[in-house]
Amino acid sequence: MEEKSVRRGFLLSKGWLQAVVIVMLLGFTVLGILAYKTYEDGAPVPVKVFDPQGQLLFDGDDVSAGQQVFLHNGLMEYGSVFGHGAYLGPDYTADYLRRSSNIAIAGNGGPPVDQDGMEIDGSDSRPDPAGDVARQKTIDQFRDNQYDEDSGELTLSQTQADAFRKLIPYYTRYFSVDDTEHGLRPEAITDPQDLRNLTAFFAWTAWAAAADRPGKNYSYTNNWPSEPRVDNKPTANALVWSAISLIALLGGIGLLFGAFGRYRDLGWHGREQTVVSFRDPSTVSLTPGQKSTAWFFFVMAVLFLIQCFVGAAVQHYRAELTSFFGFDLAVILPYNLLRTWHVQLSIFWVATSFVAAGIFLAPMIARREPKGQGKLGYFLLIALAVVVFGTLIGSYLGIHGVLEDAATNWFGLQGFEYLDLARLWQVLLVVGLVLWAYMLFRVMRSRLRSEHPGNMPWLFFLAACAIPAFYAVGLLAQTYEQFSVTEFWRFWVVHLWVEDFLEIFTTVMVAYMFVLLGVVRERVALMVILLDIGLYSVGGVVGTMHHLYFSGTPSEHMALGAFFSAIEVVPLTFLTVEAWSFLQLGANQESKSETEFPHRWAVMFLVAVGFWNFLGAGVFGFLVNLPIVSYYEIGTALTANHAHAAMMGVYGMLAIGLSLFCLRYMIPSKKWPDKWAKVSFWGTNIGLAWMCFATLLPLGIMQLYKSVNDGYFEARQFDFLTDKTANMLEWLRLPGDLVFIIFGAIPVLYICFLGVKYTIARRGEGDGEGEADAELFTVISGTSMEDEPPDMPARPEPTPGT
């Protein structure tokens, strides 16, 4: 009875908690102000757009409708707008800007253009004074902002209006062509109104990219993309904030390492570890909820394998656009559909592993599991499967034109990169994640009651709650909203959800694993978690804005995004180094252990996470982060390089590591496929490294060079991708992809299959629900603990598993 009334106090000094709360509050206050600025000062969508004679060209509804045509046809998974999207097709902002400015130059007396708006070869090879005048006139016309804020009306110059009229047929030809030459399905978009609206949307983005902001000498997109025809070049802001963020990075790393070098006793350095002895995992009883996770991991592995196959097909389009080893794949599985699947599955399979690991760890933390958790687990799995396969089927139907308008939005696809799934599936996924958080709560309820809100059980639960909460923010991105606004909310999910809150939940889980194994003291783990939350959030929250340099948001987004995302690399570097020390504690095997450490490959996957966190998120991320680099680089293979190394390298490796940790308890020790765990470790890491270093990095460097030297438009054209050197690099990726799939993904599937097989075989064991006894969990012994003399004070926080 006494135990119920005792609530354990906070294990650290209050300053730790206060620092984290202040950092979070400040970060989200700034982000709130930037949200307001996005709505207020984002590139405006005119109510009506006229030519100089007062004839209506298009209106705001047309732009919104065109945006929905763009999204619902999966074109953001084919090309991009404002630099964000996929990389096979062109960037349509840059594309429209180039073609329309060429047409305008011709209309102003400059060199003639063909029907696609491209200069006729050789037309400007000689000195051409008339052409120079025409070019200057075009610059003046494009930069002159005739948008009336009061009426919401915009008047374009005659040449801009002519360009719009001439480019409708061009984009009509492009999207309605009856073959697969572009990697899209034949006759992808044929409705004339849709094509007109789509062109209006492109025209609006191009207008925002060239027209000067009121009172400024740069455009709504901070002069992006680079385009000399409209005098678009990097702004002073891009240069200055690049320099400042570079200084912040170098200074920050120096300061942080200096400070911790001087005051380095955070509590876990230099302290001798208790001798541990691990219980054979297969003798640990599992609860019904824990057993249900075997199926989660199996589904995870299936989705991972599908994602790999789909990714291989996506890559093949880049190496051989119109033929998949002689077969016209785009008729059935066009590029934009495969990339939609690839990107969505990357989130789905990783999230499946995280969800399962949470369900698995919760009873270990709470030391109990209430009735019905197993059934809830299976229900959640089915709900997850409905969302996943609903998304895959819906996006197929949407991109193939079976669904239309609202039906596409609700059941097909919304089409935002990484938030491609239809609204119905998005809502259901949020509901599923809330259910998952509730599942964790019902397991941990009594434990939470007895703990200070700053201690690990609460942090575990709160970090879990943040996952549905921040994923739900994605619901604010509506396909009909102004594009800058949708991008703002989309990146709350893409950046804040992934890079901050998943990272925090990960840290809590990994730290808790070590605590449960008894190899790290709870106080030390709590320090690491709070340090992690604090340091990540200092840069990570406001750093979200580094995705919005050129999306029509004000320059404040660029300044703050550049600065804070640069200092985000500081804790990344520091915590990677710290993680080594922490991992060493977590798997300390210098002591004499009676039983083999059971999580060799789970820990090695964590080692890989540390490596890829530093390389993929830190080095490759910073490589594309400075505004001045991003200005030329955005939407090139360097972005893909960062995305693969960070997403697969950090979250993918972590998802596999978590699955191996949990499956180790489900598969009997004698049957544990250590060899295959080893193969999957080497297969995924070597395959991923090959992918990055053989193709993505060199191709990205080439594309960046092309962008700076020849122009962003040129760097995003098919001509670049089909260049013989680029094509050689694309093909060089093949061996790495094969290694990744055969030796990485397939062994993971096999191990997960064994998890299901042996969980079924152990059905009935330990299914007595309710209070669990101490034997349920991993048991650790410490020589010093049992030898402690009676006069020694008791250990302040015994690990839950002991």
Binding site: Q584, S593, E594, T725, T783, P793, R795
Partner: protein, 186 residues
């Protein structure tokens, strides 16, 4: 000279440099982590003992051949009476420090980094080889061949070392008895 040759040569050098940096970083991280594990203790290499921040000496107590480490131990009576014991050790036999040559998981993490370095050099060799097949004017051969030779030599050296280095994963040591059951009441 073909642009592709210049690009391949430059990128080949970049990969080789990347492999070298990775090797250095791996060693540096290992040493740093080792140093942090003994934070607050000074090692006297000449006389082979450690001194803790309270001035107590830790002398070699055991050499573990299998794990390739030396265990140093302070006097139990001194440590048990020390006010800093709570932040230093749980043991009542005196604080122990180990000096390891290559403990796990660093031993295996080291192999992981070495394997990535091997892969980078292999990739450099492959890329240079492919470009050499596609471009083989005398000047191009003069640029590519030496780089290819350096890559192959580096590859042979690193791969040989990788194969020879054990993973260091410790085996279970049942001879020391199982203490699991005696700890349930904690």
């Amino acid at each position: 000279m073909n642009t592709e040759v210049l690009l391949a040569g430059g990128y080949g050098v970049l990969l080789l440099a990347g492999a070298m940096v990775l090797e250095w970083l791996s060693r540096h991280t290992h040493n740093r982590s080792q140093a942090w594990r003994t934070s607050g203790f000074d090692y006297d290499a000449q006389h082979d003992f450690w001194v803790c921040h309270k001035g107590e000496q830790l002398w070699p107590a055991e050499f573990d051949r299998e794990k390739r480490l030396v265990r140093y131990r302070a006097k139990a009576a001194v440590c048990n009476a020390c006010p800093a014991k709570g932040d230093c050790t749980d043991s009542n036999h005196g604080r122990e420090i180990t000096r390891a040559v290559d403990s796990w998981p660093h031993s295996e993490a080291g192999r992981f980094h070495r394997a990535i370095a091997v892969m980078l050099v292999l990739l450099a060799a492959c890329e240079l080889g492919v470009v050499l097949i596609r471009n083989h004017d005398p000047v191009e051969i003069a640029v590519l061949l030496p780089l290819l030779w350096v890559s192959v030599v580096a590859l042979w050296w690193l791969a040989r070392d990788l194969v020879r280095t054990p993973d260091g994963f410790p085996e279970a040591m049942p001879a020391h008895g199982n203490r699991i059951g005696r700890n349930k009441q904690t």
